[in-house]
Subunit: 389 residues, 2 copies
């Protein structure tokens, strides 16, 4: 029997009631503030590159917003993750626990540190790593030796865990942080999508040693390309800054570098855009929240599924709106997506779980039934804040 709505036409009509009948992108940035003014200021002053006042201003504004003590702005979210891992001592040959359901950059950053991503499942409740399942998985998997924990199967040390806040919904990073402590793991939160998301009043990214954001063009705020690391640990922040600027030692004129460093600092030009965008963040977040309510009203009555929403005690930024198909509609997912695209409505599935990708196929992985099922049932919807204005 053919499923009701399986051809996607009903879904498209419901979407069009929200987004209109013209072509609509998945996420377009909104430039409604001081963007032009600050960019002009860069040109007028000559500061476009690694020095210039907007970088510090962006970092300070972000530190204030997130109540993070230290912010280091870098070229993108992948660089932020890579740098945080290196600064925390993650070395070639280590294994780093990563959720199977995330953008591939989470695992690529681990590989850039020379380490091996080790995939675990996510939970239905949070769409992120479950602390309980992680604890029982690691208890089975790891063996303590000389104060470190090793994977019994591969013999490699497991040294970090990177929970990720899927689409802005909060993973249980505090729970994961407890597990991390038990097994001596560094914790870096991949909050690339979670600027403006809070748990118990605390901004995403502050549960462990470091958290990272992305300011790519499709994010809640954009710097063109950009990312940042936040941390409460000032000595870690100092180490990260040092690593981000080729590990150059302070000297009036000599070029001394004490360790292998990177060229990862955000240019002043991009930070200028970021300062202007950050001024509008509360307005963007309000619209993203409103858009969620509009979608819920338009789509949940279709009886094909439900609009994903924040769990109690958390505030999601609703960065990317997501509709979860009922399990009996899951096999129509691709047909629905294709009908939307045929009608110039930009939708997309979640990422294919990373343990299923050729790029990371040889990496160790737990079974990932929840990641697989979420992938099979979720459609991400047009999410530009302007759709709610």
């Amino acid at each position: 029997m053919r499923q009701v709505g399986a051809d996607g036409l009903e879904f498209v009509r419901a979407l069009q009631a929200v987004v209109g009948s013209r072509a609509v992108g998945l996420r377009e940035p909104v430039f409604g503030g001081n963007e032009k003014r600050y960019l002009q200021e860069c040109i007028d002053t000559g500061y476009v590159s690694s020095t210039g006042p907007f970088v510090a201003r962006f970092e300070n504004d972000l530190a204030d917003y997130a109540a993070a003590h230290n912010v280091i702005a870098v070229v993108n979210g992948t660089a932020a993750l890579h740098l945080a891992l290196v600064a925390l001592g993650i070395k070639p040959g280590d294994e780093v626990i990563v959720p199977a359901l995330t953008f591939v950059a989470t695992a690529n950053a681990v590989a850039m540190a020379g380490a091996v991503p080790h995939f675990v499942d996510v939970s239905w409740e949070t769409w992120g790593i479950s602390a309980e399942k992680l604890r029982s998985y690691l208890s089975e998997l790891l063996q303590q030796r000389d104060g470190s924990f090793f994977n019994r199967k591969t013999g490699r040390p497991v040294t970090a865990v990177v929970p990720m806040h899927t689409l802005g919904f909060l993973a249980d990073a505090d729970g994961v942080a407890e597990v991390a402590k038990e097994f001596g793991l560094a914790l870096v939160e991949d909050a690339a999508e979670a600027l403006g998301s809070f748990v118990g009043g605390v901004h995403a990214g502050l549960a462990g040693q470091a958290g990272v954001f992305s300011f790519n063009g499709n994010k809640t705020i954009t710097t063109g390309g950009g990312g940042a690391i936040i941390t409460r640990d000032s000595s870690l922040a100092k180490r990260i800054r040092h690593l981000a600027t080729t590990a150059k030692l302070p000297h009036r004129y000599e070029f001394e570098h004490d360790i292998v460093g990177y060229n990862y600092r955000m240019p002043n030009l991009n930070a200028a855009l970021g300062v202007a965008q950050l001024e509008q963040l509360p307005a963007f977040l309000e619209r993203q929240r409103t858009l969620h309510l509009i979608y819920a009203e338009a789509l949940d009555s279709l009886e094909m599924g439900f609009s994903a929403s924040e769990r109690p005690g958390t505030v999601s930024n609703y960065w990317l709106q997501a509709f979860v198909l009922d399990s009996n509609c899951a096999e129509s997912k691709n047909a629905i997506i294709e009908t939307c695209l045929d009608n110039e409505i930009a939708v997309r599935p979640l990422w294919k779980p990373l343990n299923r990708l050729a790029a990371h196929h040889s990496s160790p992985s737990d079974d990932t039934p929840v990641a697989d099922e979420l992938y099979s049932r979720v459609i991400c919807l047009p999410s530009s804040p302007k759709l709610a204005s």
Copy 2:
């Protein structure tokens, strides 16, 4: 006996005759064209990030200028080097030949690929790797086995060489390319400083498989932060593009990635600046050349040394003006630099040879008498094109 001019005052007076008596930076960018207009266009169209017309336009304009068949714009010069090395198959545990006299990023990019930089000396004639000395060094050092060449001392395969064009002066990349062929090495030219430099009418960066540029704020043209890879090899270019964009396979909506990739593409915002800057490149180069002549006239009569100039058959971009102290003045180098800085004239020495740095101290190295001597005798001078206008 105290050296004439050893306190640097004479040198400062001669410099002030060129740069004036106000504070002067080492290199400040000139924004005299369409910079503001193109940046505004980014904001008006909403394209600031990884998609947008300025990236392709910048790449095409640069390909035209350098007569390079393929250009891939990336986030910075370090990323460009790293990406070129990875795309050419350089693997963890390989050794890569790098000149001792270069900015530390050349060696850091090798380390980012998991490989080990192996330092060689430069020549007085070119300030870059000497083909003859490299041939005789490698003939001694390398041992052929199963079609590859291994370092007899470390047992590691030596798989690439990265000649660098110091300050825009041309290394003998063609000669090095011949040696590279003899020993099966990939050749990536570090032309970070050499946009606008030519040898025999051919732009720097085209002697081997790939060449890289930097567009940092201190370079001849700037994109804020940025870099590019040029190559005549279209299939290599395709591989580089793929690696630069998380190795995502083309698909209407699925996220498939076949290998570990990077997030290295230049944002449209930065490319917009680059397009405007590239339009002014001929004017910048003319001023840089004029400035060299002005310095030569002002400084060479001091009888403390000479202004470095291009060797026959090559065209230098004169990116950074350099004065070579006579060997009997070398011990006054730091005093002269400090007197200049005290007088708010931004000068600097060359980079401390990389084999002398803590960051790369454990890497293999040949003896580097020429790099050491150049480091002991060269002072880089204020080089902003506007100083010659």
